[in-house]
Amino acid sequence: MFRYIVRRLLQMVLTFFGATFVVFALTFANQDDPLQALAGERPITESQRIALTERYHLNESFLTQYWYYMKGLLTGDLGTSLTGQKISDMLANAWPVTLKLSIIAIVIAATIAVTAGVYSAIKRGGLFDNVTLVATLVVLAMPIVVLAPLAQLVFGIKLGWFPPTATRDAGFYELLLPALVLGSLVIATELRVTRTSVVENLRADYVRTARAKGLTRRRVIWVHVLRNSLIPVVTLIGVDLGGLMSGAIVTEKIFNIPGVGFNIARAITTEDGPLVVGFVSVLVIIFLVVNLLVDLLYAALDPRIRYE
């Protein structure tokens, strides 16, 4: 196990550098005139152009720019965004709220999905099962660009149950509505995977054996069925966590949450290379760590899985 973890960590270092290099190259290729993009529709003066070009090394070649970036990164300096703010400060401001939002979303989504999934699998073919199947179909078909403003209009403005927007220091209640919207992105797939997986395992030989041994129904389902059924669900939830963090762009914009998704979107439109790379680097790290955790959880859930 220990050797496996070390090997994975070493792989992560390579993946990290590879991924940031690709992102850096892509943003570089996308950049044509970041200074004009920054100034919007205003004419940018010659002296301002000269000053900013030099400050951000914009006249250097790609490799030189990458070298400056890496040098900064390895000495713990993420650099400054083209807006003049320290990227490390922006990261520190943006991550907590996105993290909070994603965690609430994933907890709500996983709780509802697993409970409803297991229940509809046990009562397969019943009313609840059919209703959830239709409901998940509806949620799957609804894009978040429709769902988010709709939820904001209905629950935030018309009914007034939730505040229509949230801020950076938002509490649980303020983040609940955006988290529900965000969670709905993944809830349907998680529910269906849980249901299918439980249905399959209910028919498995070892379940029949357990029943034949005279174990109670509750023990059979909780210990024998559920534990084995959750392996694919855990994988899915792990991947979803990364997805939710980056996929929060629409939700964060509509609910005015100054988090990661918003910053990345803005950085792309203003051709702010350093900012894109800074945020994406952290996303890459999170993806890698979550994937490692998921792999390790496998071993916990299924003793047959051994890593060497």
């Binding site: 002296s47 000053a51 030099e54 909070k100 965690i103 904001q152 935030g156 950076r168 100054p258």
Partner: protein, 545 residues
Amino acid sequence: MLGKSPWKMAVGATAIALLAAGCGSGDSDESSATSNTVVIGIAEPQHLIPSNTTESNGAEVLNSLFYPLVDFDAQNNPTPVAAESITPDKTNKVWTVKLKPGFTFHNGEPVIAQNYVDAWNYGAYGPNGQGGSYFFSTIAGFADLQSEDPDGEEGPKTAPEPKAKKLTGLKAVDDSTIEITLSAPFASFESLLGYTVFYPLPKAAFSSDGVIAEGFEDAIVGNGPFKMKGTWQHDSSITVEKVADFKGQVPKVDGITWKIYQDDAAQYADLVAGNLDVQTQIPIESLASASADLGDRFQKSPNSAFQFVGFPTFQKEFSDVRVRQAISMAINRQEITDQVFLGSQTPATSFVSPVVAGYRENTCGDNCKYDPAKAKELYTAAKGPSELKITYNADGPHKAWVDATCNQIKASLGVNCTGVGEPKFADLLTKVEKKEPVGLIRLGWLMDYPLMENYLGPLYSTDGSSNYYGYSNTAFDDLVAAGRSAATPEEAIAKWQEAEDILAKDMPVIPLRNGQNVFGYSEKVSNVNVDLFQKVNLYEIEVVS
């Protein structure tokens, strides 16, 4: 290890996560309800250093933190505010500004003439890269503070240091007198001093001569009626509170929270839900429901926006003035302002905005009247191109009206017209600079200071900063310059009106629409006014008790 009790771990982790998420609440609505403060929505300012603040969000915040030398009255004439008097010499070249006594910065420093001189020198110095530096170009010695890259931007050489670090035209005679020498006479110079970039900075702003201290921008210290509470919470909010015994005009509210929004629609949602007191620009998609949502708290006021399309005059197909007139006549401006903009903008019939002194209605004359029959006649006679394009930047809300305009041109002239979206404004400019055939160019302009010259100079003169379509007419340039050096503002206006008449003949652009502020406010506030610069009047706004 992990294998034994994954369930307990999962439950524990969940509990911790929810707790972590739940903490931090409770401090969000501390400033609301009973207190005499208001919440005004803005977008994230780009900068808060005055000389670097050229967009409206930063300017709004600075408007609460600083007290200007001059403000503008109802007729947009400059009136001294922080200045006791502003007087030119006989030639209009040397201006003397006397400061009112008793003003202090928020950190206790008295406001002296040197503070203005330092701030303006900083703003004008090229290598500081300040967005508003071009405002100082009227002051003597500006050229020596700039440097040029000897082999162009792409070349390996870097720009040398400029010849000088200070403007020769600026002098602090004593603590309350600034003497400004201009590089050329300018009778209306006083109007410029009302702009954001001319605010002073305290000594504390500079860590050494000509260098702004690190972190100063996030906790900026001004000389205005409000001071910053805490620091600038990027992407979140900026809170300001009233300064005790302020010497200037005293506002009626005790504080303002500038709440920062990424999205206009989210801002509107908060306004309707009562979490926000003022929104200065209601997004177009919410206009239809705004009257119902807000009642008479939904209002309009004029602003300085001027929307138009330019003809790339360097292209042969547009060189015949009849072609330009015909296309202009083919457009039904009223229909577009009504149907696409739902009355939030008004049709433009002149080359400057109605908000400036010297504006005359309908200087564009018949050229801006919708007359499809005459348009077709002119166009056929001039053998206009059979294909027209209007190029716009797709990152702004332009597609709807560009397509509508094209359809009108199609119907009136019987030619094909397409709207072409470029991803960003910069892409559009790149193509124009390379003289690629982009067709008509969508453009807009907001004034910096209320003078006709602020439209005529940048938009239509040969070396105008926003003259992207290459219009050039020496007679016009001379008249604009003559207006600048005229002895009185009235004479200046006469010259500028003459210049505008040339535009009506040449039609280098098609005026389309004048902007309006469409703003809304909550039940908590009254006396809400939004001025020409899209700024809320902070001295009048009141909290309804």
